[in-house]
């Protein structure tokens, strides 16, 4: 009886797992076979990399990759600087108006940048940043979530270390840089993984703010490439899709444990 239950458990779990990765497997199947073989699920048909070649030459993918890479880097650097400074101020300094401002910051957690697309678009245009990578990244840099995360991390640093550094003659920024930042390394790593995978995958905002292949990230490029108006067939779309998810997917498979830990650390504050 007990082994039967155990068998049913394994069976159910594995069945669900197979269903869950089936879309990915089918995309892989479609991408590596000719369209007609893919559609007919002809299991013995020959493998091909022709679809990847066609997909690759169908759009400036390299440029898209570079754009996405630049975008996540710019956002991450901005976020690290801004959230470190603000998080430190909230965690370790006493000044009038602090609590009020902190509540304002927390409010931003619920006013999602996605919802404010219209006015943010107007703002980016006003700043002359329309169709630039900085324009795509800027609204995300002062992330309330990041500020909150850093504040929590810095609050956990023992005050004795702070005092010791001060007695050694370290200035406030020196203390932040030499004591707090090194101790918060796991939080930075977690935040980086979450931030990179969020912005690698972001679509709606870049769609609105970019207008040329020079700035367009992968997700927007992929959506244009796969648009039905372009009459691209399923094998080639699958190849393009796999290409554009490959870097993040491979990174995930290698650093799976860190990814999961990162999401956890970021989620449970």
């Amino acid at each position: 009886m007990k082994s039967l239950i155990k068998f049913m458990d394994s069976f159910g779990a594995i069945l669900l797992a197979i269903i869950w990765i089936a879309p990915l497997l089918f995309a892989f199947w479609a991408a590596t076979h000719s369209t007609s073989d893919a559609v007919n699920l002809n299991l013995l048909s020959p493998w091909t990399i022709e679809n990847f070649r066609v997909a690759w030459s169908g759009a400036p993918w390299l440029k898209y990759f570079i754009n996405t890479f630049m975008l996540v880097t710019v956002i991450l650097i901005g976020q690290f600087i801004l959230t470190t400074l603000a998080g430190f101020a909230f965690a370790q300094l006493q000044f009038p108006g602090k609590n009020f401002v902190f509540i304002l910051v927390l409010m931003q957690l619920f006013i999602l940048p996605e919802v404010l697309i219209v006015e943010n678009y107007a703002m980016v245009s006003r700043l002359g940043l329309f169709d630039s990578i900085l324009g795509v990244g800027m609204p995300y840099m002062a992330s309330a979530f990041g500020i909150f995360l850093m504040r929590q991390a810095f609050k956990g640093v023992p005050i004795e270390l702070h005092e010791a550094a001060r007695i050694e003659g370290c200035g406030l920024l020196g203390i932040l840089w030499r004591v707090y930042v090194p101790l918060a390394k796991p939080t930075y790593l977690a935040y980086a993984l979450v931030s990179v995978s969020t912005h690698w995958n972001n679509f709606l905002w870049p769609l609105i703010v970019t207008n040329s292949p020079e700035t367009r990230p992968l997700t927007v490029g992929l959506s244009i490439f796969g648009a039905p108006e372009n009459g691209v067939d399923i094998s080639i779309i699958s190849a393009a899709t796999l290409m554009s998810v490959a870097p993040l997917l491979i990174a995930f498979l290698i650093f799976q444990r860190q990814f999961v830990q990162a999401f956890l650390r970021a989620g449970i504050k």
Binding site: L41, T83, A86, V101, V105, E114, V115, I237, L248, V260
Partner: protein, 297 residues
């Protein structure tokens, strides 16, 4: 001494505001000012070449309420939330219970569940396109084995929104699983042992011990799922574009369409304000719940 303390306090205030200022500037530019500007733009008429915009009070809101599409979209989004939230929570819980139990191929199972989380919604939509395409799609192929007629899942009003819902659940369940998994690992082993000694069945143990202990996690996940039911709309751009005849259109997509396809900024602003209102209620729920959680600790 008191002058020294005074100096220190002033120094901290200066430093505090200096350190905050970069974040404060960006938050003002991209969150606070836009929120207020949205509110004000929702109260003014649309400016045309002939007529500059003027204050119209709640007229934009009244227009929206009179717009049948708006109600279709609201209804769609309610259904979208009403299905994706409980179903993805349930699947996430099942996944976590499985991924936490001693089954074979556990590593594979966990990876498979979590993988959709790292894919962009646009890519997910492309993958699912291969399932939904009439005639060629995997679903139709399987259906034809059993003699079912070909179904245009994305092209008919009765199924389009459901097709969208399935992709969303597929995308977010694995993400929610992780939070359950973490919570499950904090449940002490002795509870299981005690339940075994008492002769409690596995079902009783799950229902009476595990589920209540997971309650805070469930609430946390529910809030996230609620936010997602507003936010996750990227796949609409690939799969249905809100069609056919608005059957799968969701609010954020409609806001985008209003603003960037119909160039009706005031209506988009009015809808945005309503969404912010709903999110505010969600925020209130979460603060209330956070209070509770600290209370229990």
């Amino acid at each position: 001494m008191s002058s020294h303390a005074n100096l220190e306090r002033r120094r901290q205030a200066v430093y505090g505001w200096l350190l905050l200022s970069p974040a404060a500037v960006l938050l003002t530019l991209f969150a606070f000012y836009p929120s207020i500007a949205t509110l004000s733009s929702s109260l003014f008429s649309r400016s045309t070449r002939r007529k500059p915009s003027e204050f119209v009070g709640t007229e934009n809101y009244a227009d929206l309420f009179a717009d049948p599409t708006f109600w279709i979209v609201v209804k769609n989004n309610l259904l979208y939330a009403g299905i994706t939230i409980p179903v993805s929570i349930f699947i996430a819980l099942s996944m976590a219970l499985w991924a936490n139990s001693k089954i074979s191929a556990r590593g594979f199972v966990r990876t498979a569940y979590f993988t959709p989380t790292v894919l962009p919604m646009i890519a997910a939509a492309n993958l699912w396109l291969f399932f939904y395409t009439p005639g060629l799609g995997v679903l139709d192929q399987i259906g034809s084995l059993f003699g079912f007629a070909s179904v245009n899942w994305l092209g008919q009003p009765e199924t389009a929104l459901w097709a969208i819902i399935i992709v969303t659940i597929w995308k977010e369940a694995g993400f929610f699983m992780i939070f359950y998994l973490a919570a499950l690992q904090t449940i002490p082993e002795d509870l299981k042992e005690a339940a075994d000694i008492e002769g409690a069945s596995r079902w009783t143990y799950t229902r009476r011990i595990v589920l209540p202990l997971l309650m805070p996690t469930t609430l946390f996940i529910a809030v996230n799922a609620m936010i997602n039911s507003v936010k996750l709309i990227d796949h609409l751009f690939i799969l249905t574009k809100g069609g056919p005849s608005d059957a799968s259109k969701l609010i954020l997509y409609y806001i985008w369409e209003m603003a960037f396809a119909f160039f009706d900024a005031p209506s988009a602003a009015a809808m945005t304000i309503m969404v912010i209102g709903v999110l505010g209620v969600v925020a209130a729920i979460q603060f209330f719940y956070l209070d509770k959680r600290t209370h229990y600790q």
